[in-house]
């Protein structure tokens, strides 16, 4: 085996992106471009065949494996989808809201900050009115009805019409409801697991002559798993990830990965 000069004498200075593509149709599934760190661990097992006096005669090598791990500087929903096996969706997404609104003696209704959605007649999931009178604070839970009456409230077009029993009183209303916004969502189902992608880890390198190299690690079958922990709160939230490189049987060459490099022209 001869040495190849281009494979020597440089170091990786930055990990630029990790790009994940569908193995079937090369659709780009996720791009991470703020990689804080990534590691690629290569291992193998071996067993010695020994002779007299326990001398090692042969080493049987087996069980090659490649695992990777790292962390992205920001949360990636598309990466989450690869890790959990979910299909991300976009469109009208529901969010739950809890609102507390004050009302006065002359108020018979209150306005919500968002438009509640749900089954007609049940848009408001929970409503508790707390009124202040000579007995102190008294809280009462009310049901939604088609029309407001003594013991029921009504809702339409962001307006909650209070039960008539609260008229002429001061107090607050705690309202729990759901509203919709144009957004995106990715879930974690119990029955789905991480996806396998065709992954490219793109890096830049430099040598002692300050020449720039482009390095690409191609992982043919990158199997993402659901082992990640979000440390919420504090100074930013990193998105950690783990993957395993599986043998690429499809190509017939049984590869885990290829490490490719070229010198970028000045």
């Amino acid at each position: 085996m001869k040495t190849i000069a281009m494979l020597e004498g440089w170091t990786i200075t930055s990990v630029e992106t990790i790009e994940n593509y569908s193995r079937e149709d090369d659709t780009c599934l996720s791009i991470l471009d703020e990689i804080k760190n990534v590691s690629l661990a290569n291992t193998e097992d071996s067993a010695d065949v020994t002779g007299k006096n326990g001398q090692a005669l042969f080493t049987i090598k087996k069980g090659k494996a490649v695992t990777g791990s790292g962390s992205s500087g920001y949360i990636s929903g598309n990466l989450m989808a690869l890790q959990t096996g979910a299909e991300p969706t976009e469109g009208k997404i529901k969010f739950r809201k809890r609102e507390i609104v004050k009302f006065g003696k002359d108020d018979t209704s209150i306005n919500l900050s968002e438009t509640a959605v749900g089954t007609e007649g049940n848009e408001i999931l929970n409503l508790i009115v707390t009124v202040t009178d000579e007995n102190g604070d008294v809280s009462t839970q009310y049901e939604q009805a088609t029309a407001a009456d003594t013991s029921k409230f009504a809702y339409a077009d962001n307006v909650v019409t209070l039960p008539t029993a609260t008229n002429g009183k001061n107090g607050t209303v705690e309202v729990i409801y759901e509203y919709e916004k144009d957004g995106a969502s990715v879930g974690n189902k119990s029955g789905t697991y991480g996806k396998t992608t065709h992954t490219f880890i793109n890096c830049l390198g430099t040598n002692t002559c300050d020449e720039t190299y482009f390095i690409q690690i191609e992982v043919y079958r990158c199997d993402w798993n659901s082992n990640f922990t979000f440390e919420l709160g504090g100074d930013g939230v990193e998105h950690p990830f783990e993957f395993k490189s599986l043998v690429d049987k499809c190509s017939g060459e049984d590869r885990f990965w290829d490490f490719k490099v070229y010198k970028k022209s000045v």
Partner: protein
């Protein structure tokens, strides 16, 4: 957790609520959240949509009549009696 009950928005009968059942169908048709039986859902929709100005009187009347013809006359609760009478008032059907 204690079971939750509420009054049917159509007949006023107390029934056990479930906000979880049938989450696989469109939320618009999840009757277990608001009425005591699927039949009463057919009365409920024209009543509430008319009260909110989403349906005109003729359409609400036709839909309510259709429910009455299919499932029969029922005793509406006090909360919606006024609205039902208003919907049906010019058609002398009750």
């Amino acid at each position: 957790m204690a079971e939750q009950y509420r009054d049917c928005l159509v007949c006023g009968k107390s029934f056990k609520v479930c906000n979880i059942c049938q989450k696989d169908i469109d939320e618009m048709f999840q009757w277990r959240r608001i009425v005591c039986c699927p039949e009463h859902f057919s009365y409920h929709m024209p009543i509430i949509q008319y009260s909110r100005g989403k349906l005109d009187k003729d359409t609400a009347c036709n839909e309510l009549k259709s429910a009455i013809n299919t499932y029969g006359n029922i005793e509406f609760c006090d909360n919606v009696k006024g609205i039902v009478n208003e919907i049906l008032s010019e058609n002398n059907v009750q």
